[in-house]
Symmetry: C2
Subunit: 109 residues, 2 copies
């Protein structure tokens, strides 16, 4: 196999898993951190910052864009990427709900 059985899970579970999967790579974490720090949107300097090839960075950016975590605007020759405000907030909300479902250790284990 190798194919996730998405049909047996809820929309919310699948959506959260998809977003977390997009975050689940150190390069994409690094890319997002850089985008957040360099508030004025960055473009190609990521290739210089991280030690990955241009094609690889481009692929990671596409993945982040596909799930809606970032957005890109064409600025002449270069492309300006930045966080997608609404989706970012939604992720913060839903992940927060998920992780705070845990109310401390129960009487077991």
């Amino acid at each position: 196999m190798g194919l996730t059985k998405t049909e047996i899970f809820t929309e919310e579970q699948n959506r959260l898993a998809t977003l977390l999967k997009a975050l689940a790579h150190p390069a994409r974490i690094a890319i997002l951190q850089r985008i957040m720090v360099v508030n004025t949107c960055i473009c190609g300097d990521l290739v210089g910052e991280l030690g990955l090839a241009q094609a690889t960075i481009s692929q990671h950016l596409r993945e982040l864009k596909n799930v809606g975590l970032i957005q890109g605007t064409i600025e002449g020759v270069s492309v300006c990427y930045c966080i997608h405000p609404e989706n970012w907030k939604l992720l913060e909300l839903h992940f927060g709900e998920f992780i705070r479902t845990y109310k401390g250790p129960a009487k077991c284990c």
Copy 2:
């Protein structure tokens, strides 16, 4: 290739990515939600709840245990799984720091 270049990223980036990867599957989200709700630790009823084979559930549990998000205690024939309190809190903390690095839309894009 197919091999993440972990050596070019920081400890924190790699650790967060590893934890998020463990969460980045609907089955594992569902498993964790169930463990959190059924506060008294559950064991094999996961196989009945989710529509996945026993071997598959067992594999997902191992992944969650490997990254330290859950812990398992042998209770006679069955095994009792529950959230790993400290690591769960650490994830909440570090993810929170990460996602709250974003301070709203800047003047660009």
